[in-house]
């Protein structure tokens, strides 16, 4: 029940896992959103969690981030049991997340959003609430994070004026602003355009090797490009866990996830000879392939 995917990079020495989930279960009424899930990530792991809507992916992220509490099971970060630790403290321990439903502070500027996100993690956080000079130190590192996601030019715009794609990037920058050890990404590519997805892949590809990432994503292409290991959830249960290529090639997964069991590639819908184009960008690539 507790498969331990080891990314290709990890050395054979028994390094303690960054994150260890054991028998995690969360029920809402009669619905079991997360059912006896185990997962172990070492530092620098790039792990994806995929599965159909309602499979419990976001609930799993919420349990790890602390916005929800499990009914059973334990969550261990760097050997410390954080199962009942509040969200804010988990963040200060190094867990950061992006949100599927975008969460930006509309009343503040883009820059202030990132300053606030990085604040509890900044070495000079004490006294920054009253000292403008210390606050200014925060704006420098926040500015760097904005450059990372390509929003530096918009630093002084109110966050409410950003487009959907820009808000996604802002949310990502807010997650990165805490220099996390464990980054939880909840559908970071949802609703993004081609260019944005390219930038997203660039940003995530450039993350420091020591950061462990859990990626919940519908776009198989994004998963294939970023993740070295994958867990497939279905109805809250782990269907299969393993290296990305193996898992994506797994017949059961293809059937459950792509809706194709027989045809050549994941990009083809049954019978029509027409590639399934999922919302947004990377599909452009798959479409081109199909035609070429």
């Amino acid at each position: 029940m507790t498969p331990a995917p080891t990314p290709a990079a990890s050395a054979p020495e028994p390094a303690p896992p960054v994150l260890d989930l054991t028998r995690l279960t969360r029920r809402y009424g009669t619905l079991t959103a997360v059912d006896d899930v185990g997962l172990r990530l070492s530092a620098g792991a790039r792990h994806a969690v995929i599965g159909p809507n309602g499979a419990g992916k976001t609930t799993l992220l919420n349990l790890i981030a602390g916005t929800d509490r499990p009914d059973h099971g334990t969550i261990t970060l760097d050997g410390t049991d954080i199962t009942v630790t509040p969200t804010a403290r988990r963040s200060r321990l190094g867990i950061a997340r992006s949100f599927q439903q975008l969460s930006v502070i509309a009343d503040l500027s883009v820059l202030d959003n990132i300053v606030l996100a990085g604040w509890p993690h900044h070495p000079k956080r004490r006294g920054a609430w009253r000292s403008p000079s210390r606050y200014r130190l925060h704006t420098e590192s926040a500015g760097r994070h904005l450059e990372t996601v390509g929003l530096a030019d918009l630093a002084h715009r109110p966050a409410s004026t950003l487009s959907h794609g820009q808000r996604r990037m802002l949310d990502l920058a807010a997650a990165l602003a805490g220099n996390p050890r464990l980054l939880l990404l909840d559908e970071p590519a949802a609703g993004l355009t081609d260019g944005d997805i390219g930038r997203l892949l660039g940003i995530l590809g450039g993350l420091p090797a020591s950061v462990a990432v859990i990626l919940v994503e519908h776009h198989v292409e994004v998963v294939a490009q970023l993740a070295s290991s994958v867990t497939v959830l279905a109805a809250g249960k782990v269907l299969v866990t393993g290296p990305t290529q193996e898992v994506l090639a797994h017949p059961e997964v293809r059937d459950a996830y792509h809706g194709t069991g027989s045809t050549a590639g994941p990009g083809h819908a049954r019978g029509t000879g027409i590639p399934t184009v999922r919302p947004s960008a990377t599909e452009a690539a798959s479409v081109t392939e199909a035609r070429g």
């Binding site: 355009t193 081609d194 260019g195 109805a235 809706g259 029509t272 590639p275 184009v277």
Partner: protein, 242 residues
């Protein structure tokens, strides 16, 4: 027959849907395909009366219903199966059926067919087994069936389906597609909205590609089945043009 002319709608200050013309004859499926953010749900909400269009008209069998409150539009015969199902959390399946059952007025013989709870349960037998369960206790597929049942019990002339197969297992996707075909055969005009053309192409008589709220391609189902290239070209454009 559902007809939209010059339909334009948006949220405070921003137009999401730009002057869309579209007609769905009774008994056919018209698919609207587009990426997230292309304005598909805005289209559905505007037709259903959940949003007020800023310009243009919605006509149902020759009667204009533009700008009427949502419940009047529902009574006029437009049934909505919304994205995400949105079944009532606290109501049992039975209560859903009772609440939604609205037989047409006596003398109103223009409805394609009259749906009673018994007939809906015949079509969707799975719901019959879960009659005492609350909406939130149902699986995704069952919730989708319930949302469909809710729309059907108004004996609609037009059915608006907003991403009805989102997140469903393949076997259920097939089932939903078959249902759509069955319902169209009953004489209902179906407006199907989907991010993926696969479902659309299978059953649609006509197909519209929506890009940033504007129609960028209109083709018949046969054309779409025969010529996938231009459809995909249009969708590729969708991906990059935003």
């Amino acid at each position: 027959m559902l007809e939209l002319t010059g339909l334009t709608a948006g949220y405070h200050g921003g137009t999401v849907l730009h002057s869309l013309d579209l007609s769905v004859p009774a008994g056919t499926v018209h698919a609207v395909v587009g990426h997230n953010g292309a304005g598909k749900t805005t289209l559905v909400h505007t037709v259903a009366g959940l949003m007020r269009p800023s310009a243009g008209t919605v006509t149902l069998d020759g009667h204009e219903v533009t700008g009427r409150p949502a419940h009047r539009i529902a009574r006029a015969g437009i049934g909505l199966v919304p994205q995400g199902r949105r079944v009532f959390a606290g109501l049992t399946v039975d209560e859903h059926l009772r609440l939604s059952y609205r037989p047409p007025h006596r003398g109103d013989t223009t409805r394609p067919s009259v749906w009673t709870p018994a007939r809906v349960l015949e079509l969707l037998p799975r719901l019959g087994e879960r009659r005492g369960n609350r909406g939130t206790d149902l699986s995704g597929g069952e919730q989708q069936m319930l949302a469909l049942a809710r729309a059907l019990l108004g004996s609609p002339r037009v059915l608006l389906l907003d991403e009805p197969t989102e997140g469903l297992a393949p076997v259920l996707v097939r089932q939903v597609n078959e249902l759509v075909t069955t319902l169209a055969a009953e004489g209902i005009a179906v407006l199907l909205v989907s991010p993926s053309p696969a479902q659309a192409v299978e059953s649609a008589r006509a197909l519209t590609v929506l890009t940033s709220g504007r129609m960028t391609l209109r083709m018949t189902g046969e054309e779409a089945r025969a010529d996938a290239t231009s459809l995909h070209a249009a969708l590729e454009l969708t991906a990059t043009a935003v």
